[in-house]
């Protein structure tokens, strides 16, 4: 069963997270907690996301107005990585012959082989 955190719990758990900062993240929809009858509920994903956002702001010193862009890129990368992992697992379960055909196509498209000319 998923675990949820209230706003005060999340403020206590995430280093460097302040109430105004959390409010700004929610307003900018960088973090979208669940709406429940008892107010916003934060998931484990939100907890980790907020930790990362604080790290980006404090350690990498990113200005707050850059955070939506950076998080968007990180989300795209993570989604792509998750998809890629699923695709790799699907390919890995295929027979050698199918994997071979896929490999041939990918090598053809993605790997450039430089022919070293003899003489000339």
């Amino acid at each position: 069963m998923p675990r949820y955190y209230s706003e005060s719990q999340i403020l206590a758990l995430v280093d460097d997270l302040t109430a105004p900062r959390l409010k700004a993240f929610v307003r900018a929809r960088i973090v979208t907690p669940l709406s429940t009858a008892d107010g916003p509920a934060y998931r484990e994903t939100d907890l980790a996301r907020l930790q990362l956002l604080c790290d980006l702001a404090d350690i990498h010193e990113l200005p707050e107005d850059s955070l939506p862009l950076v998080m968007s890129l990180i989300d795209q990368l993570n989604t792509a990585r998750g998809d890629m992992r699923a695709l790799m697992q699907a390919v890995a379960a295929e027979p050698d012959e199918v994997r071979g055909r896929i490999r041939t196509v990918i090598r053809h498209m993605r790997i450039v082989t430089v022919e070293t000319g003899q003489g000339g």
Binding site: R27, P33, T36, H60, S72, T79
Partner: protein, 312 residues
């Protein structure tokens, strides 16, 4: 962290608080596990953050230096790496990364991975196409929300209000029988458009809070019903809760725990409710019951484990 926290941060034992903080930030900057996929970077980052957690607290640092505590055991609960959440299936922040609009590959891509929100969190680049830049019409941004509702509201439908990030609120009608993970579209409830562009839509992804007694699979509802020993032996009608209120269920004579009964049409939208019986003994068997069982056992004994493979 088993090693020396000063070594993990690469600072001298005499380092000032500022130097320690600087050293930690330097490592975090290059080795953050959300930004650097190298496993050795993750290991360095973990060691450095554990060391920093210990040394940033003056009192803890003093006690460590005095040998009163060791570095072990000072580790805080696992830091929350975002990446493992973000790569997992069902991550609410999953977003499309460029194949949706691809003329050749969008079909095969959505066939494999489905469609995702592209404009959920970041209002930036993906706007609708417009041909003449002087004639600037942009449809408003789509908003995405996650909404948790209780089991009964999902089963029977209902109304709720959600608070929007900008402080306003929005009335939402929950359709009867909505499923966990389904998305409700509220047309025109997204951001304002520019020029002649209409407003965007709001999308609510529903998650259903578990119910203490009911569970569901699609439109079928499941419930475990406790019955007394006399109800189990003699049978009879007992009230059983359903999503529409209690109904009477006929317990057959001699029902065992685990026996499954079906209330046709009592689930969601014409689904069924499945009831599994659970025989519950009285809190404390009384003398009369014990005396009766002693007698009864003499010539009515039976072996309920006779057919089991593992034996009794």
């Amino acid at each position: 962290m088993a090693g020396d926290p000063y070594e993990a941060l690469g600072v001298a034992k005499t380092a000032s608080d500022a130097e320690i903080k600087k050293a930690y930030r330097k490592i975090a900057k290059s080795d953050h596990p959300d930004l650097n996929p190298d496993p050795s970077a993750t290991a360095r980052f973990k060691a450095a953050s554990a060391a920093y957690d210990l040394l940033k607290d003056a009192e803890q640092r003093r006690r460590f230096d005095a040998g009163e505590i060791d570095a072990q055991g000072q580790e805080r609960p696992q830091r929350h790496s975002y990446r493992e959440h973000a790569e997992a299936a069902g991550n609410p922040y999953a977003r499309s990364y460029g194949f949706d609009g691809d003329p050749d590959l969008s079909g095969v891509f959505s066939d494999l991975f489905g469609r995702r929100g592209g404009r959920g969190g970041f209002s930036g680049f993906q706007q609708e196409e417009f041909s003449d830049p002087r004639d600037f019409h942009v449809r408003g941004q789509d908003y995405r929300f996650n909404l948790e509702i209780d089991f009964m509201t999902a089963a029977n439908g209902g109304k709720t209000r959600i608070t929007l990030p900008d402080g306003g609120d929005l009335g939402v009608t929950i359709p009867k029988g909505v499923r966990d993970g389904q998305t409700i579209r509220l047309k025109g409830k997204g951001g304002k458009g520019i020029g002649g562009g209409g407003p965007g839509d709001a999308y609510l992804t529903v998650s259903i809070a578990p119910h203490p007694e009911f569970t569901r699979d699609g439109n079928d509802v499941f419930l475990t019903l406790p019955i007394s020993i006399d109800e189990a032996i003699l049978g009879g009608k007992v009230p059983v809760p359903t999503i529409d209120g209690p109904v009477n269920l006929t317990i057959p004579k001699g029902a065992s725990s685990g026996r499954k009964l079906r209330l046709r049409g009592r689930g969601i939208n014409g689904g069924d409710q499945h009831v599994e019986l659970k025989v519950v003994m009285p809190a404390k068997p009384d003398e009369a019951l014990e005396a009766f069982m002693e007698e009864w056992r003499k010539d009515h004994g039976y072996d309920p484990r006779a057919g089991t493979k593992a034996g009794g």
